[in-house]
């Protein structure tokens, strides 16, 4: 019984939150990696672009709510996804046309494009703050819990409760769907293959008759979908605050590089690696050990490797270690 309690405890406080957070990071990391792989620059506007898409979802949710439209037990924000994605892609393509394309055609070094993306970051941040302001916003409605701790205890008779938030299941579920569709697209369709070919060897792709303009268009489209959905899921699960989104860029970068930048599959796994590391290393295992160890060995301290203040620092340390020892990422094999 104690053993099951210990497992439930870990599930509730580490595995489930880590899977949720990991999914959110994974979507962002694939976004980073696609832009890096196909358009060949580190996009420092990543966090703010995700924030931009989410902003539309938040505004539209408020609008829908004012019209009395809702999605039953599901959050209204899910209904806004198509519209938010549309605005996001439109914004990205506008930025590409007026900013990025010039440097791409000139074949500027990636560093210059990265610097340009810093400019885009400033502008995006300004637009977001002018439109919606910097404050914290919650836009989750519908049913908040799938399973409450109390109910779980009543059903199973265990000491430990398991709480499943609807946003956790939604995040994991939607991420699996979006990522599966994306991998199907990249691996099975002609356009997807040509995109990978372009990412692999641009000159040869041109010699094969692949139209770079189309590739760029599709890349931003996929990026827009990933960025918006990732941002919305994060916002539903926690809350929407522009500054936090800017900061999320950092673990997202870490996930993308840990997975081997330019490899979507690696970025997907990288998101979970970062999330699990952050949560497992900062979790206080005291209660866990009380359950599984005999009374005589019970720990007196929190049994916490690092304080939760260092959550971010962990992902960065992982990143630094990976950069030093395996700059191509920790996953072997296929690039895309």
């Amino acid at each position: 019984m104690d053993f099951i309690n210990a497992i439930i405890l870990l599930l509730n406080f580490t595995v489930l939150p880590a899977l949720t957070y990991g999914s959110q990071l994974a979507l962002g990391a694939i976004f980073v990696t696609l832009i890096y792989g196909v358009l060949r620059f580190a996009n420092f506007a990543t966090g703010d672009m995700m924030s931009f898409g989410t902003m539309f979802a938040v505004l539209l949710t408020y609008y829908f709510q004012s019209l009395g439209i809702n999605f039953g037990i599901l959050p209204t924000a899910l209904l806004t996804i198509p519209f938010a994605v549309f605005f996001m892609i439109f914004y990205m393509l506008t930025m590409d046309k007026f900013v990025f394309s010039y440097y791409r055609i000139k074949k500027s070094p990636p560093v210059q494009l990265a610097m340009v993306s810093v400019g885009v970051m400033f502008i995006t941040q300004a637009i977001i703050r002018i439109v919606i302001g910097p404050s914290d916003r919650r836009f989750l409605d519908g049913e908040k819990f799938i399973l409450k701790a109390k109910e779980f205890k009543e059903i199973t008779g265990l000491n430990e409760g398991l709480t499943i938030k609807s946003t956790q299941i939604l995040t994991i579920f939607i991420t699996i769907i979006v990522v599966s569709i994306m991998f199907w697209f990249l691996n099975k369709t002609k356009t997807g293959k040509s995109m990978r070919a372009y990412s692999d060897n641009e000159d040869l792709a041109l010699l094969s008759g692949i139209d770079p303009k189309k590739i760029v268009l599709i890349t931003w489209t996929i990026a827009g979908i990933l960025a918006t959905i990732g941002g919305i899921l994060y916002g539903l699960d926690k809350s929407y605050r522009p500054f936090v989104y800017f900061n999320n860029m950092l673990p997202i970068f870490a996930a993308a590089i840990v997975g081997g930048i330019g490899k979507p599959y690696g970025a997907f796994l990288g998101g979970y690696v970062i999330a699990f590391a952050e949560i497992f290393l900062t979790y206080a295992y005291k209660k866990f050990f009380i359950y599984i160890l005999p009374d005589s060995l019970e720990p007196s301290s929190l049994v916490q490797l690092l304080s939760t203040d260092y959550k971010f620092a962990i992902s960065f340390s992982i990143l630094v270690i990976v950069l030093l020892f395996r700059p191509s990422g920790i996953f072997e094999g296929k690039k895309i």
Binding site: F41, P109, I257, F312, A313, L319, P327
Partner: protein
């Protein structure tokens, strides 16, 4: 630029103008540091924030008076921890050379790290708790050395240099964009350590009332010679006033204004000395054989390497030098503010804005860097009033209660992001070398 600041002095106030000028000078020091790395050697350092914070930390650790109770409570344990860390590092270094098999190496190193962290936590946590519980509203940290604050500027540079040396050792081999990301994240780690280790510098509880290398306003206001000076300075104005009591009142007011201006002038002159010294040094370095070598390496690393230049060593050197200058600027800034607020170190303000300064001003040109520091800082602080003016201008036909107008005016502070962003993009597009491009002197 100077003209703009004078305009602010006339239209807003001299005190504001001088604080802008002081910040411009600090920014200029930061941009000189960043420009050495980017302009001379092509290294992207997105970790400016971290070095700035280290410089600020130095001010606290050097100038604040020590807290003996805290030292008694936990000083020994913390020193012990420091020794354990040193031991861990040496052990890991030793293991790296000893073990051949990768698996063993990883297992050994991981166990050392995990074991070490657990050990350190068990020693440090009680110590930290007792330190932090000593008068937490005022101290709750170990305090500093109680040395003169100017000394901390040098130490700030040294701190930054030391950390940059370690970071450079591990990260400089990376490709340019990886280096940017890595330094950005490492800076974030540095700041989060400063923020959360309260025993070190009170963390987010801030340290206020730091020492100054300049007189305090309140002392000046009671100093005979200063009051006389102000009186003399404003004698024509004062003569116009008839009643004695009124004259006294106005004089008192003038003295208060003048004291703040005077203090700021003291800072300005100190900062000017730093900027001019740095400018002379960097200019001389730029046109020395060493500077030429650096540019050769920047423009073609491979061929410079083939010609026998030690690229790695030179990169490390310049990385350390540039970071030290940024650390110095960080110390200057905290001294100027008189307070250390770890919570305020954000990459936007302390990394990206500085980079915009470097790019806008002129890569590889020290005068350009300084100009960039001035111009961008000026825009950064004056963007809000400017945008309020523009919003009012364009919405003049709308009533005061118009929602859009109110919303826009409330968002005025954010327009500076927009202005800086657009400014950066325009410069990068139409004048990629910056306002003052690099000058190639032929010999």
């Amino acid at each position: 630029m100077v003209f703009l600041i004078i305009l602010v002095g006339i239209f807003q106030s001299w005190s504001i103008a001088l604080s802008i000028l002081n910040y411009c000078l600090i920014s200029a020091v930061m941009t000189i540091g960043a420009n050495i790395q980017w302009g001379y050697a092509g290294l992207i350092n997105f970790g400016i924030m971290g070095y700035t914070a280290l410089g600020g930390l130095a001010v606290v650790l050097i100038s604040v008076a020590p807290v003996p109770e805290a030292w008694n409570a936990g000083g020994f344990n913390l020193i012990l921890c420091l020794m354990i860390v040193t031991l861990m590092v040496t052990l890991i270094k030793f293991l790296l050379t000893k073990y051949k098999s990768k698996k063993n190496k990883i297992i050994a190193i991981t166990s050392i790290i995990v074991f070490g962290i657990l050990l350190i936590r068990s020693i440090a946590i009680p110590a930290i708790e007792s330190i932090e519980s000593i008068d937490p509203a005022k101290t709750g940290f170990l305090g500093g050395l109680g040395l003169p604050v100017l000394f901390s500027w040098i130490v700030g540079g040294l701190f930054a240099a030391g950390v940059a040396f370690i970071i450079g050792k591990i990260a400089l081999g990376l490709r340019a964009d990886y280096l940017a990301i890595a330094t950005l994240l490492i800076a974030e780690i540095i700041v989060s350590i400063i923020k959360h280790e309260d025993w070190l510098a009170r963390g987010v509880k801030n340290v206020i009332g730091l020492k100054r290398p300049a007189p305090y306003e309140i002392d000046l206001q009671n100093t005979e010679w200063f009051i006389n000076l102000v009186e003399k300075f404003n004698s024509t104005k004062l003569k116009l006033i008839n009643t004695v009591s009124e004259r006294q009142d106005i004089l008192a007011k003038l003295v208060i204004d003048a004291s703040s201006v005077f203090v700021k002038l003291c800072f300005t002159s100190l900062f000017l000395v730093v900027v001019v010294t740095l400018l002379i040094l960097t200019q001389r370095a730029l046109y020395s054989p060493w500077g030429r070598k650096m540019r050769a390496i920047r423009d073609n690393e491979i061929s410079a390497g083939a010609m026998g230049k030690n690229v790695v060593k030179e990169h490390l050197l310049i990385f350390v030098l540039g970071s030290a200058i940024v650390g110095l600027a960080g110390a200057m800034m905290v001294t100027n503010d008189g307070l250390f607020t770890p919570g305020s170190y954000r990459p936007m303000r302390y990394t990206f804005v500085i980079w915009v300064m470097v790019i806008v001003g002129g890569t590889g040109n020290n005068f350009g860097a300084i100009l960039g520091g001035f111009a961008v800082w000026f825009l950064w602080v004056q963007a809000a009033p400017m945008s309020i003016f523009l919003i009012n201008f364009f919405t003049v036909h709308l009533p005061e209660t118009n929602e859009l107008k109110i919303h826009l005016i409330n968002s005025a502070p954010y327009f500076r992001f927009l202005i800086i962003g657009i400014g950066l993009l325009i410069i990068m597009r139409y004048r990629p070398q910056g306002i003052l491009p690099e000058k190639i002197v032929k010999h």
